[in-house]
Symmetry: C2
Subunit: 245 residues, 2 copies
Amino acid sequence: MVGTGPGSIEHITPRAVRAIADADIVVGYKTYLELIPELLKDKEVLSSQMMQEVERCRRAVTLAADGKQVALICGGDPGIYAMAGLTYEVVMEIAPTVKVEIIPGLAALNSCAARLGAPLMHDFAAISLSDLLTPMELIEKRLEAAAMADFVMVIYNPKSKKRTSQLLKAQEIALKYRKPETPVGIVTAATRANETIALTTLAQLHQAEVGMQSTVIIGNSTTYTWQGVMITPRGYHTKYTLGKE
Amino acid sequence: MVGTGPGSIEHITPRAVRAIADADIVVGYKTYLELIPELLKDKEVLSSQMMQEVERCRRAVTLAADGKQVALICGGDPGIYAMAGLTYEVVMEIAPTVKVEIIPGLAALNSCAARLGAPLMHDFAAISLSDLLTPMELIEKRLEAAAMADFVMVIYNPKSKKRTSQLLKAQEIALKYRKPETPVGIVTAATRANETIALTTLAQLHQAEVGMQSTVIIGNSTTYTWQGVMITPRGYHTKYTLGKE
């Protein structure tokens, strides 16, 4: 399982590059493979379309069971809301002797936080708003808990074409505990050609441009903005002093 | 601000390597600089000791204000519980025209999750147990909220030589909501020569070897172990079926 990060080839680790180079065959979703053409020259490649995750995994594991060294490509970090778990489940079911190595990549939370400044200097909760595999009641319970305990909130899968109400619900819940002017950052397609970065406030979040490739970060009670960046101080006490040390 | 990831040179992105190559001067904590000797050949280097973070930042920002291109090195990801925020604060205070770019790296949560298998396939909360800058009451409130709402919990700064009670408190709080057999993973010094990986249970956590370089991941109610890896399924419904698609 090879994590290729946010998209730009500059953010792929040498370990991931080597895993691709060493593989007999590279398996992956077409969109991710198209981001790394330099790494796929002279490689045997099996590309597939969206929504065929399980089939893709089964093919990769079957090839590995046949003795091939397989690089299964995953955008972002395979270990964060991604394919690492499914891969183990498939191995468990159809080929328990296949060896799996997870090679981490930069996840959306790493690259989006970097683009926004320093929003994740303190405790945070990552919450996916996709209710495909998780009941909405549990998602709401988590939003409530995270908002109440002043976690910075990193929202994955905030919205799709069909699914728009969950982000409004997240906004509503956060507003119960946080000021309307709480900074919110939205990064779409981080590091790619079509990247956009926007800062808004919790009160204005419903008017922001948010899509399927977006990650939304809602600040905690201490988060502020300065010259277009979003900063969460690293503590509540001030035991360190900037002026003298 | 250059994130150099968990330690091994294989996990540093080309973007980070280029930032170091392009810099007039490299500033960083000695221990992190010693992990990347290949990148520092023929570079001007300003190295410093632990607990001088503010001074290090001030030196870097002052050099930048004097017109130097500075690479300020940070292990892990500067954007996650690290130096990105402090850097902005120092810039704001002493040299507001200095331009800052945050170059993300693999954080402890990325590399530790990868070493453990697939613990972060679902919502998680990152919580630091260091009470140096945060009141213990707030840390407890967050532990309680995260445990109650079934977040996987990623514990940063679980323990130091002087500070041992917080991890026991975290265990106690988690046990109020989770089964004693809940899997817990502990990764120490991920990807370095002295790396250790351990799996235990919530009930046994107090007996585990945990140190200053450790990250602790406590599973949610669905997390299980298989052949030495820790897996959190990606959903609660089972709308996808492994057997057929």
